[in-house]
Symmetry: C2
Subunit: 556 residues, 2 copies
């Protein structure tokens, strides 16, 4: 007889965050206990036309809902907490995280009008017990405060999940990543390491956040004009450094952009921003001060068209107008895919006569993620038996696996998993189990998951070639055409310039209809297909375009 | 009486290439003579949905067609020659360029079935006289061979147009940019400099093309597997270096991708590729050789979905199948906007088990454009009186202007122009004249300029929210509804999942129709507007989406 204990395995199941940067969510399961690490969203790919956000498919959690003890959050970025409002509607479980992380979650849930969720604050350095798991929160450094790594003590051994991190020896709040804890865990013995892979392609070290403050101080010292700084709303250390520079050089600080205002409020209320009285002023007040006494902190560092900075650049901001000579600092790097939007805003700002400082011109940004040497340090301190690279596209996971191998880990102990992979561990063995359901759920307006491949394919077709609707009214009695064909087009050609083309097209359809009538074809599917074929061939030969053709037959 | 000579001014009119990187075309005009420098296209912005390419508006040239003496080309890149097939159909004038440039133009014109164009080869170091202009071709270095700068000797002074260039002291073909000529022109006195601005944000120097060859040699020396190198088809020096490495390490070379095959053929025929017999093999033959004796040179370095490399990565290439262990080198940098496409291909290649080397991992690419120190050298050698920064977005032009100012040029002698600007020069003065027509002409299939803002706006709307067509048939006699409303949707929601929604929508429309009938509203515009409003409000309240709504009324 095999004892129950011998059968029990620890399962690690990433439901999101692999083969992608975003949508992080990982299941840790042992017998009747499941904990979930993070619950993030990802922004849609270019081909996901019209989609607002993408969230993970949590079918697996719903099937095992009675096992789920809670969701544990590593930090407050959208790709780690952004899916909570959607997921919590389907499965309401307690949430665990640090104070700031939960402050941001709380704000988000209120926005979505979600109540009755238990938010449990855990301090870095403390632990929480969920089912058979004991989860230690370990302070780390990242581009948002109160970020943690997790050491999950399980019946078969310790699993360390780094969360997102970098190693900053001179962080703004003085709180260096808890390397001693990593060393201690390494001494105890770590079964599995899950480490983030975002910057694995970059050699060396990520610079300290403090270096950006030095740049700010240099810029602020010389500047005589108004200063506008765009950065990520969640980068509270960055905001603190802007505030510090403002105070040092006698400037008032105003804040613009919805998420910036929100995050500054949450951070201030929870004590994460050191903001002496009288420094912060309302954006409506800025014109009351001389130019050299104003700093505006704003959203829009990614060039988002609706953001405060984009509105400032296009003179559509309600509260402030850009003036020639204003100094704009874009304190961020474009996320891949946003390069052209950012460039567009920079060009607009320059055209309006602003001076613009951005990453290509000065050190106004550092990454929040560990580069190769930092990753090596964590691997070396933890000395894990098994390794699962996480938080990366396939190329990142692959290269992180190579890095682990170079550090001496046997290849067979490294698991390059994908979303839905199940990796099963005992005290001394690890192997892939049977895959579970995982994937993308597209959110479009209030619809969650109702936009699928067919809808997206149609949107793509419509976006490239537009549409032609052909309407014909046919007699119920004898199948003869009573009215039409009428043609309506959108997104195809500008009609006034193409009247002849449309007349020709109608004539072609008339011939098809006559032909069908002659051959006694009254089957609508055949009729529609004939119209479609004729029109498609005609238009392609005339103009080399392939619009969507929608034949509609009305019967009276 | 004012003499005619006193009235004559040199006009420089950029019709494309400013506030953008691409679509380069500049008019140089003096009295009855016009020459045109370059005639390029630009690839569509993201919001130009369905557009193939964008060409410059040449209304100004058509209005002055009797003055145009010829088009002078600086080099064979698409953003300098790509609009020729479209423009030459409207204004057939002689073309002047170096041998390779015209070889590429010739190929392009044949593809478009354009005949009777006079192509006149000019050797670097030689001049051509067009009307009152004497145009010297000056050898420079760039990422395509046979690239030149131009010194245009005009009645009021010398205009130097750099074309695209870098300074390469160790170019692959041994032919260094003709710095002596630049020095000589500087001594003579240059009236106006037009210099490219692509890399003005980058400090220092662009590395020599040769450094990429060194990297290739290192990689080829160690590689035991098949090697696939993706690069720009027009980068013939790069291709030469791949061939050189192949020969050195005993590999045969096969070529894949339409434009790569074409360019290699043109370059080989014209003597721009040193390709000993027996090195080049057909792509169909590669399986006859051991893995370590094969190099495939391919298109697709920008991740273009239909390119050879993308097909290789997705196992859709007809002639070759990627094998685990194949080594893929992406010898290019993503053009802004292409980052995600390139990343996608890299991920796919890794997943198929290939090793992939790209810019983030090794020095497998250098730019073809001058960085700050190179620009300073050219400015310093030429000592121009006036300066027009060209070939750049606004930020580049602005920063190039700043660079010139830092080198001592008075601000009022620098002209940051836009497309359609006219800058008028006499021997000692320059000023902006009256703007002329310039702009984008969108090419979609065979249609040139028939897709405008309305069509694009509709395509965008359709792409984001899809479409709902509502058809109602109404009696001619009494205005009563005979059939319908019928609803057809595309790109909105997947219909099977939304039958209830559609039924509700129909009911709403029925109510509107009844209401209209009751109120004796038979005016179609009002009827359509009522249907649209009702449906729009209904759908937005139900699902927060805003599809295009097309009401169609048939009368019988």
């Amino acid at each position: 007889m095999v004892s129950k204990k011998a059968l029990s395995k620890l399962k690690i199941i990433p439901l999101g965050g692999l083969f992608e940067i975003g949508k992080n969510i990982t299941v840790i399961e042992y017998n009747n206990d499941i904990i979930v690490i993070d619950c993030g969203l990802i922004f849609p790919e270019d081909e996901m036309l019209g989609i607002d956000v993408v969230i993970p498919d949590i079918t697996y959690l719903l099937k095992n809902r009675e096992k789920v003890r809670g969701i544990v959050l590593t930090h407050g970025h959208e790709d780690h907490i952004g899916a909570l409002p959607y997921i919590l509607k389907k499965i309401n479980v307690p949430i665990y995280g640090t104070k700031l992380t939960l402050g941001l979650v709380d704000y988000k849930l209120k926005e979505h009008n979600i109540k009755n969720v238990k938010l449990n604050v855990v301090k870095p350095g403390k632990s929480v017990k969920l089912g058979c798991f004991n989860i230690e929160f370990i302070r780390n450094n990242h581009s948002i405060p109160d970020s943690v790594s997790l050491a999950i003590h399980t019946p078969v051994g310790i699993v360390v999940h780094t969360g997102d991190f970098k190693i900053d020896y001179t962080p703004i709040n003085g709180e260096v990543i808890d390397l001693h804890k990593f060393a201690e865990l390494g001494r105890k013995g770590v079964l599995v390491l899950m480490a983030e892979s975002t910057n694995v392609e970059r050699p060396g070290y990520t610079m300290s956040e403090k270096t950006v403050g030095d740049t700010f101080n240099d810029i602020f010292m010389k500047a005589k004009q108004r200063i506008i700084v765009a950065t990520f709303a969640s980068n509270i250390h960055r905001i603190q450094q802007i505030i510090n520079a403002a105070i040092m050089f006698n400037r008032k600080v105003a804040v613009s952009g919805r998420s910036m205002v929100n995050v500054v409020n949450v951070a201030k209320d929870l004590g994460y921003l050191d903001l002496p009285d009288g420094v912060l002023i309302d954006i409506n007040e800025i014109d009351k001060y001389p130019d050299n006494e104003i700093v505006v902190i704003t959203t829009g560092s990614q060039g988002e068209p609706m953001s405060a900075l984009a509105r400032i650049a296009s003179s559509e901001h309600k509260k402030m107008e850009l003036m020639p000579g204003d100094l704009v600092i874009i304190s961020a790097t474009p996320i891949p895919g946003n390069e052209k939007m950012v460039a567009k805003v920079i060009n607009q700002l320059f055209k309006k006569g602003a001076d613009v400082i951005y990453e290509a011109l000065a050190d106004v940004h550092v990454s929040g993620h560990a580069c190769q040497e930092e990753l090596k340090l964590i691997h070396t301190l933890l000395k894990p038996k098994f390794f699962i690279p996480v938080h990366g596209e396939y190329r990142h996971l692959k290269q992180h696996a190579q890095l682990a191998e170079e550090l001496g880990m046997p290849r067979e102990n490294i698991f390059i998993a994908e979303n839905g992979s199940v990796i099963e561990f005992t005290k001394d063995k690890g192997k892939f189990g049977q895959q579970v359901i995982a994937g993308n759920i597209l959110v479009d307006g209030l619809g969650i998951g109702d936009v699928g491949n067919i809808v997206l394919r149609d949107r793509k077709h419509l976006s490239e070639d537009g549409l032609i609707v052909v309407v014909v009214t046919i007699s119920k009695e004898n199948g003869k055409v009573i009215a039409g064909p009428d043609i309506v087009s959108r997104g195809f050609v500008y009609v006034r310039e193409s009247e002849d083309l449309m007349e020709e097209a109608k004539e072609k359809i008339r011939v098809v209809l006559a032909e069908c009538e002659k051959n006694h074809i009254t089957d609508w599917a055949t009729l529609k297909a004939s119209i479609k074929d004729e029109l498609r061939n005609f238009l392609y030969s005339k103009i080399k375009r392939n619009p969507m053709i929608l034949p509609i037959i009305m019967e009276v």
